[in-house]
């Protein structure tokens, strides 16, 4: 007597797609009362469950969803009160940054000095005797470069742009979350 059919094999017979089922396995199935019992039980369970129908959702669900969605469609993304907190935080950070910049406390590290530092470094590099050798070996490499002429005002504008972009990034992310949860 060969081994009993597995549930997978029985399911293949039930679904009438026993492609991978060996003919010996069929023979076993035909003659084994135990396998046929399991088969009948599976058929019964399948028949019961095939009758399954969904529970009825309360009508109010679709009404509420449509109301929310129409509100979104008409008003766009609702603004969140806490947006002001983030705007305030960004503006405060921007103000502190600006104050530090103009008070000179960090000015020594800022762009005009960066240009000087770079040019000093460049001079040192050019004096290095080994560099000439490298330059000869790689004539196509242009090591001369210029830093854009940044002054305090252009740096100030750049910081402003970064702050605005940062604010929009936060605003977009938070509103998306807000729209999903609260509408």
């Amino acid at each position: 007597m060969s081994k009993h059919l597995t549930i997978d094999e029985i399911q293949l017979i039930i679904s009438k797609t026993p492609k991978s089922l060996d003919s010996n396995r069929f023979l076993h199935f035909e003659n084994c009362s135990q396998c046929r019992t399991i088969y009948n039980r599976q058929i019964l369970a399948n028949s019961i469950l095939a009758e399954l129908k969904p529970r009825t959702a309360p009508e109010i669900i679709s009404q509420k969803v449509i109301q929310s969605v129409e509100r979104i469609a008409v008003q766009g993304i609702p603004k969140k009160k806490t947006d002001w907190v983030f705007l305030l935080a960004v503006v405060t950070l921007f103000a502190i940054g600006s104050w530090l910049l103009f008070s000179g406390k960090i000015a020594q590290y800022l762009p005009q000095n960066v240009t000087e530092i770079v040019s000093e470094q460049k001079q040192v590099v050019e004096e290095n005797k080994y560099l000439d050798t490298v330059k000869d070996m790689l004539p196509s490499v242009n090591i001369d470069f210029k830093l854009p002429d940044l002054n305090q005002y252009s740096f100030f504008i750049l910081m402003g742009l970064i702050a605005i972009l940062f604010y929009y990034f936060l605003d977009r992310k938070l509103n998306q979350i807000y729209r999903i949860r609260k509408t």
Partner: protein, 197 residues
């Protein structure tokens, strides 16, 4: 009568009425899966709303490579998981490998001993039958109930359930088989085969 694809295209262009039609087609199924996972009607209503609002918000990210229902039930399943996670309700994957626990067995015993209305007579109508089926499924271990719902109601294949629940195919097969058997045993103790089919 618009096809599902046409409804989706319209929804992508912002037509809220097509969402209503999509909801008419799917909301009962979504609600059923949600209630199967969270067990509470009020919460299930809220989460079903959340699911369809997410559908509206994210419809442009649906690329039609998979079936719409697969995408929809993925959103549904994840929404419920997020809820359970927030409520610190452990959706214990290990339960899947250890099978029915003692609480579930005692629940099943309880169900077996519950007196149903006399359905042996000809009053065994469709609605009663559905109630009995869902009551039986509700008494299965959580995962088995979900897997049975996905397979027999949403017509998900075992592979699709495995992808959705991120569990091995064999685990899904085992629990589908256990769930089916438990249901059959519970039901046969109360009703005859003829009544059930």
């Amino acid at each position: 009568m618009l096809t599902e694809k046409q409804l989706i295209d319209r929804l992508k262009s912002g037509d809220t009425q097509s969402l209503k039609k999509i909801m008419d087609l799917h909301q009962d199924y979504v609600y059923t899966l949600v209630i199967q996972m969270v067990k509470l009607k009020d919460v299930a209503e809220e989460l079903t709303q959340d699911v369809f609002i997410k559908v509206y918000n994210k419809i442009n990210s649906y690329e039609e490579r998979s079936k719409f229902t697969t995408w929809l039930y993925t959103i549904t399943y994840r929404t419920c998981l997020n809820y359970l996670d927030k409520k610190k309700i452990v959706f214990n994957i290990s339960e899947l490998t250890t099978g029915t626990n003692e609480t579930d067995i005692s629940k099943n015993e309880e169900l077996l001993n519950t007196k149903h209305p006399d359905i042996l007579n000809d009053s065994f109508d469709r609605e009663e039958k559905q109630n009995i089926l869902w009551e039986t499924i509700d008494h299965l271990p959580l995962h088995q109930g979900i897997i049975i719902t996905l397979h027999y109601l949403q017509h998900f294949s075992i592979r699709e359930i495995s992808d959705l629940m991120k569990l091995p195919v064999n685990t899904i097969k085992t629990h589908l088989h256990r769930g089916r058997n438990t249901m059959r045993e519970i039901l046969l103790k109360k009703y005859s085969e003829e009544e059930l089919i």
